[in-house]
Subunit: 384 residues, 2 copies
């Protein structure tokens, strides 16, 4: 075999072995050999290199099989860090995450609706530098930054094509933030970042087929299919908000009739509520529900019906192992969970029912930051 | 690098190089080297082995670049064959397909609704042996058989779990047909076989993200996502027939209200038609439409509306490059195409419209047979 092919293969094998140690630690060299099909000699050589580079250490000695002893391997938490960022309309969150996915430092800042783009970047940069100083983390330990935000993102070039929520259009965020901070930057939609966190250590841990549904001011979903983020041809896959669920129903701003979003988004719930009562915010609607006001009960009953129908449709089309519900509506109005579950039980097609788990995100307010940081690791770490 | 790793990699490289020559022929060694990143020396060695094994030959000499000459490579059509089979309620089709995906021999046989399982297998075996004799193809040239049929299939074990159309349940088809024929057998749903043909040389040629929609007695779809067949957790992905499209609409046999199938399947169209006129078959409905009978025009107008809504939803969720419409309704009633296209133009969300092609399958009646044969190659060929 030629030298150049061998080098490429060596590099691939090394990154593979490191991934396995990180995800399955503590693990023995022999187990790695079994998983990869690579010879014990190769594994020993690679582990030695990874140790020299500061990634891998030996931990305990255990008895494996008939009297044989095996040393287990683990990774160093602090070999590198990534920075996860969530930018939302009214809040910016920053977290430093270590190599094994622990948030070791976290900060959130309010964001004014009128705050302009470079002010946000400046604030972000200051916050990152403060957190690094606080935890005494040197610049060369930081692999890079990942930002999750609402909107349509050109993730390959790190450009925010449109974010109505932030009021940004064609913002070259990856480049601009790199100029401010000096770090490599990747950018993606917040739901995509969040499903990475769910897949790494949340409700879809290690799942090959998972759907994360976001229900709040926007209606959308992110997908892991066959073990990878699924984006579709133009990064629009999972656009459930504009699937038609009732062709004789509500008119949608997109020009169609009966889109799911016109029944379950915050704006839709508010618009219908205001036909009855002069409510200020979605919280007022939830309060009215809790006060037993029939109009609020009716509107939110319809919301849960359409959410359950959407879940049933998602299941038919993607046939995932798990569907994770998240977003402000679920968070602020947990009473809706029971209604959704009862209706799912009625709507979901029997052959699909037994195989799927319908669950709720367990990350409270740090899911996007964590997922972004992990995605930064996945994308930017490529050991020679 | 260890011997065992080198052997594995050599094998992978060899299969990769063969795939490239087959799909991109005529191609030079240098181009293969560029595509794979492997060294010219390795490519030369692998090509030599593939030539010795009867797969690859040199074709013409061309001038490439400044005065340099390159010999192009091609594969032998007849190095091996696979057999594609489609079993449907009233018809069984068999085709022998050569290594470059040409059907060199084809036969179709009627199947009686009451015909039992082993009779069908016996008939199939006789037909295969006859076609082989006719074309003088030796047993050792046949890599294997692939069968596409309607129903829910355990493709890993080649078992037909349920096929209502054929009246089969838990039929161990791969094993049983192997006993009859002596060949390796794989089994999959007919739409999955067909999308393989579309992806190989049809309307979704080389597409990474494609959806094939089948509209006829059954309503379903098959998916290529990120370049692979997408099956979901229990091989039910793409089950569009049971997505709810109108929650105040028709009752479905699955127990839900408003499933897509209740508006566009042959049975649904027939049931509605019989409220007006004593029609015998779906062809009578199409004839009534052609005679200008208003009830038929109204029912089929609604059919095209729901098909277009389904296409719009498919686009939102999978964001494919191409959606291929196929099935008996499209074939027997081509007038529906114009109506579907007009409505798609109204329904499809603008940001998605420019990226997608909505097309019709060009395979007349041999798509499943061809796709099955190609899938047999993809699955069963693994050169040492």
């Amino acid at each position: 075999m030629e030298k150049q092919d061998q080098l490429l293969m060596k590099k691939q094998n090394k990154n593979l072995v490191l991934d396995i140690i990180k995800n399955k630690s503590p693990i023995s060299r022999m187990e790695i050999s079994k998983i990869t099909g690579m010879s014990p000699t190769s594994i020993t050589r690679i582990v030695h290199e990874l140790h020299e580079q500061g990634f891998v250490r030996e931990t305990e000695l255990v008895t494996s099989g008939v009297g044989r002893k095996a040393t287990l391997l683990d990774v160093y938490d602090d070999v590198l860090y990534t920075i996860g960022v969530e930018i939302d309309r009214l809040i910016v969150k920053v977290g430093i995450v270590n190599y094994i996915g622990e948030i070791i430092s976290f900060e959130s800042m309010t964001r004014d609706v009128t705050e302009n783009y470079s002010d946000t970047l400046e604030k972000l940069n200051n916050c990152i530098k403060e957190l690094m100083t606080e935890k005494d983390i040197r610049t060369e330990k930081i692999l890079g930054i990942a930002v999750g935000l609402p909107g349509f993102i050109d993730y390959k070039n790190g450009i925010v094509k449109v974010s109505d929520q932030l009021g940004w259009k064609n913002a070259n965020l990856a480049n601009d933030l790199k100029k401010h901070t000096g770090f490599e930057v990747i950018v993606d939609n917040e739901l995509k970042m969040k499903i990475v966190a769910e897949n790494f250590m949340g409700m879809a841990k290690d799942s090959l087929n998972a759907v994360l549904v976001g229900i709040g001011s926007g209606i959308g979903s992110a997908l892991i299919l066959n073990g990878e983020i699924y984006r579709g041809e133009s990064n629009n896959a999972g656009e459930i908000g504009h699937t038609v669920i009732d062709p004789t129903g509500n008119v949608c701003s997109c020009g169609k009739i009966g889109c799911l979003a016109t029944y379950i988004s915050e704006a839709a719930i508010l618009a219908d509520s205001r036909k009855v009562k002069d409510v200020q915010s979605i919280d007022d609607v939830f309060d009215s529900y809790r006060n037993g006001e029939s109009w609020a009960i009716n509107i939110l009953d319809r919301t849960s019906t359409y959410i359950a129908l959407a879940i049933s449709n998602i299941l038919c089309l993607y046939n995932p192992e798990v569907i994770i519900l998240s977003g402000n509506t679920i968070k602020k109005f947990p009473e809706i969970k029971e209604a959704i579950e009862k209706k799912c039980d009625l709507y979901i097609w029997e052959p699909l029912k037994e195989k799927v788990k319908i669950v709720y995100s367990m990350f409270t307010d740090r899911g996007v930051v964590l997922g972004a940081a992990i995605q930064a690791q996945n994308t930017l770490l490529d050991l020679e």
